[in-house]
Amino acid sequence: MSSITYLEAIREAQYEALRDNPEVFLYGQDIGTFGGAFKATKNLGREFPGRVFDAPISEDAMIGMAVGAAVEGARPIVEMQFADFSSVGFNQIVNQAATLYWRTNTPCPVTIRLPSGGTAGSGPFHSQSMESIYAHYPGLVILTPATVEDAYWMLLDSVKLDDPVIYCEHKFLYYHLKADGFGQRMPIGKARIARPGRDATIVTYSAMLHESLRAAEELRLDGYEVEVVDLRSVKPMDTDTILASVARTGRLLVVGESFPWGGATAEVIARVSSEAFHLLDAPPLRLNSKDTPIPYHPNLWKAHRPTTASISAELRKLLRY
């Protein structure tokens, strides 16, 4: 297989899901003829006539409709044009989809794709990372693939799961991130050691994995071996793998792109502090974006989110302790 991008992996997974199961259909704005704002459904409407639908600008109804379809046994994949617009479908996600199984014993196999995260010049309403918002509510599975392989396998797995999945795909990785193939499937719920090390652990996910790996590389020049754990899914969160890594390194930095209050990074630190306090040789640290909306100008945007440089700086702080 020739080189394939993260975005192509998402398209390919949808292709296979449609091919393999007649209950799968796609629903989203401009995803038919047009192939979606990011072309994640390019040609799928042509290849699967009557299975790919352009939705009206009605995120609330889009999720509601997917839940109804799932009740009837369908397995819809809903594309939000940007993660940020899921805010108007929020109620249907957290109160309708997420509670259906618990309330009525009815499975709810809905996959909601959220094109997430910042890119330069996208501004406050086309850049958000909402995994922490959705993970707070019971009844949802929150996937945050950071690699081409995970983008592919985890989307295929989402469609097979009988629970609602919030699939957070990072727009920054769409075109740049490439792989030679889809590699091996790893089960949902398992974190991955993306880089082994012994001096400190970075726990991260999604696009921040790559900034973190680069930071780890930088620190290697100083003689440090930093282990990097890719959470892959923030809910469920693979505490065991995190703890095992911290047991090896004794030092923890958690990096996420979303806003700093609460959320995935706080959750990781809370788990490690509560469950493996004695493993820590230094205070666990976290790095998030700043506590303002996401700025439009690239100068500001680069300073708003964690970068290789800011992660390296934080790592140095952690290692000095």
């Binding site: 109804a61 409709m65 379809a69 009740v71 009837e72 249907q92 009988d162 629970d163």
Partner: protein, 348 residues
């Protein structure tokens, strides 16, 4: 005084023969609904038995039942709302489901996890509303959409309800618009009972009649006197026929009055007396019983007999449910996902 003692007569006694069967079916559902709700209301007031609040459909039974009788349990899709006890019965929901849910026993469809009007059995096409008004419409639409996609729609139809207040929600708008775009076989009952909790309609919308909205969605619009069962049966028959015939969503707006509080905790003192004594303040059950007698479709004796049977059914349900177990937190699975392998420990 039994209900049938209050019969008033008003209808011409001919020309409705073809409605007879539907009418009587709806009427019996209304009687059972009223009997059940009266019981729930008194259990609530007595205290100690009912879990949570009680929200009744008194005064709305004709409108609700006239929709419900067109729905076939296990074949059609129904997403009832707050005041649809009569429609639920007409659809085929056993009284036990209601009683079990109100008493919160673990044998009910909601197993004590959710309550009262939120009950349903989605797996058989009987949707379980969440509280957020308007949000059920798209769900019912989605179920129809999936059936059509799979080719199993056949002559099945979907139905759901909304109140005058619920029409102000964005969810209602998005849901109905989506259903219209997809031309789904869906009947939407708009029960305009003049109030949303305490809020009168002039604080809720500015059009003359909610049926004026139908055209803007490109759906069929129907208006009916919601206190008049015969009229309701007739109008819903047309609406369901059109929906099944592929004419897309049908919106049926019924004018009526909620005969009671928003819930049983509410004395509805904000409803002006004038309105209570207006045409829309008539008790649709009394009106329907009068119609039945006038049309020669039922005798007062039969009506009394049906009431007696309803009381018996309700009493039996209560007696049975009273012996059933309440939920036990130690036996509860505390699991929000169906995929057990993905559950995390609760107490991290």
């Amino acid at each position: 005084m039994t209900l049938s003692d209050k019969i008033v007569t008003s209808m011409p006694s001919q020309g409705f023969e073809d409605l007879r069967h539907d009418f009587l079916k709806a009427l019996r559902c209304m009687i059972l609904s009223r009997t059940l709700e009266d019981k729930l209301g008194s259990l609530y007031r007595a205290g100690g038995r009912i879990v949570g609040g009680v929200y009744l459909g008194r005064g709305q039974e004709a409108f609700s039942a006239a929709a419900g009788i067109h729905l076939r349990w296990g074949r059609d899709i129904y997403g009832p709302l707050i005041r649809d006890q009569a429609g639920r019965i007409a659809f085929g929901e056993p009284v036990l489901d209601a009683m079990r849910t109100y008493l919160g026993v673990s044998t009910g469809p909601m197993r004590g996890r959710d309550g009262n009007i939120h009950r349903g059995r989605p797996q058989v096409g009987y949707m379980a509303m969440i509280s957020h008004l308007g949000s059920l419409l798209a769900v019912v639409g989605g179920a129809l959409f999936a059936r059509r996609l799979r080719g199993t729609l056949g002559d099945s139809v979907g139905a759901t309800s909304i109140g005058d207040g619920g029409t102000s929600t964005g969810a209602f708008h998005e849901g109905l618009n989506f259903a219209a775009v997809e031309k789904l076989p869906l009947v939407v009952s708009v029960a305009n009972n003049q109030f949303a909790y305490s809020t009168p309609t002039h604080r809720q919308y500015a059009c003359e009649d909610l049926v004026d909205r139908a055209r803007g969605y490109g759906v069929g619009g129907h208006q009916v006197d919601g206190t008049d069962l015969l009229a309701c049966v007739q109008v819903f028959r047309t609406a369901f026929q059109r929906a099944r015939a592929g004419e897309g969503p049908q919106m049926v707006v019924g004018r009526l009055l909620r005969l009671g509080g928003h819930g049983e905790h509410d004395d509805a003192s904000y409803v002006p007396d004038l309105q209570k004594h207006s045409h829309e303040g008539r008790d649709c059950l009394v009106v329907a019983q009068g119609q039945a007698v006038d049309l020669g479709w039922a005798t007062p004796q039969e009506l009394r007999q049906w009431e007696k049977e309803a009381r018996k059914e309700v009493d039996q349900a209560l007696a049975q449910v009273s012996k059933e177990p309440v939920p036990d937190p130690y036996r509860e699975s505390w699991q929000a996902l169906s995929t057990t392998a993905l559950m995390e420990g609760q107490e991290r």
